[in-house]
Symmetry: C2
Subunit: 178 residues, 2 copies
């Protein structure tokens, strides 16, 4: 039987983008903030001085984002039962294309290039599940949407929510013994 | 009413890849071949000495491919009636990612980044039409497939075929006065 398919987002889902923002901010201003600053605030406005957009356009930003806790092992497990695709909206930041490909090769070398998609919007992606931190991608997706928690989406209540990768495994019924 | 969507391939469809191979071959060996050498031959084997793969991995190859005759004007016309997506299997050649983005920005600046997708395989792309030169992309596509003629697909008979961009416009019923 053909496996069901999952589209998994990168920024804020596989990649701990909030931690990277805080790291870059500390490097620039010498001040360590906490993830609380992202709570219920649009992502681009969470740091002062337009810092978020500046960092997004800084070479190396996407290449060095820390991996989200639990993501590597969870994706390995999901692959046993599902056809896993990585679907990232990389077109807005052309510099990120090569960096994201290299980042995946470093941290998720077990994901074949056949299964990687860099896109603009995700409206023509057709998978059985979509895991993402943004409603703009989930609201009209063709499969079952799962909202991965991030500060900016704290107020969203109309999607099934996973707070971490263990909750994704629970929702998708992937047990540790698999 | 929502526009119908079209996924358009790059290499061999928007981009005249055969001409680029011949140009690179002439630069290297001083010998001008014709497109006849591609007729009914697997693309990778059309030139001797593994030249095709060598060129595909040469920086600059994708950035400088000539535009397929008639493609720019045809895509402009299609946009009036259809939601046009560019869907290119760029993941096999990571160097091509940035070059393909730049190439599109130069020759098709009227295509928004929202509508560009670089992928591995195209199996999770869901559009109403798909224009491609490879059966591996068309045989299982979710919409109506249109085979764009290339030397390597000369023997294929099981898809609706377009020999050039004017025939695409005819098939998709886009008239010059649009």
């Amino acid at each position: 039987m053909k496996k069901q398919s999952i589209a998994i987002d990168m920024d804020g889902v596989l990649a701990d983008t909030e931690s990277q923002y805080l790291h870059y901010y500390e490097q620039e201003y010498g001040k360590r903030l906490t993830k609380d600053i992202f709570h219920n605030v649009p992502e681009a406005e969470a740091l002062p001085n337009g810092s978020i957009f500046k960092y997004l356009y800084t070479p190396g930003f996407f290449r060095t984002i820390p991996v989200m806790a639990g993501a590597v092992e969870a994706v390995r497990r999901l692959q046993k039962r599902y056809e896993v695709y990585i679907v990232s909206a990389a077109m807005e930041f052309p510099l990120s294309l090569f960096e994201k490909k290299e980042w995946l090769a470093e941290h998720f070398p077990f994901i074949h290039w056949h299964n990687i998609i860099f896109c603009g919007d995700k409206s023509i992606i057709d998978t059985d599940f979509m895991i993402d931190d943004y409603c703009k991608n989930l609201d009209f997706c063709k499969g079952k949407p799962i909202l991965f928690s991030a500060g900016h989406n704290a107020g969203i209540t109309h999607h099934l929510r996973a707070n971490n990768w263990q909750e994704i495994l629970d929702i998708l019924d992937v047990v540790p013994t698999n």
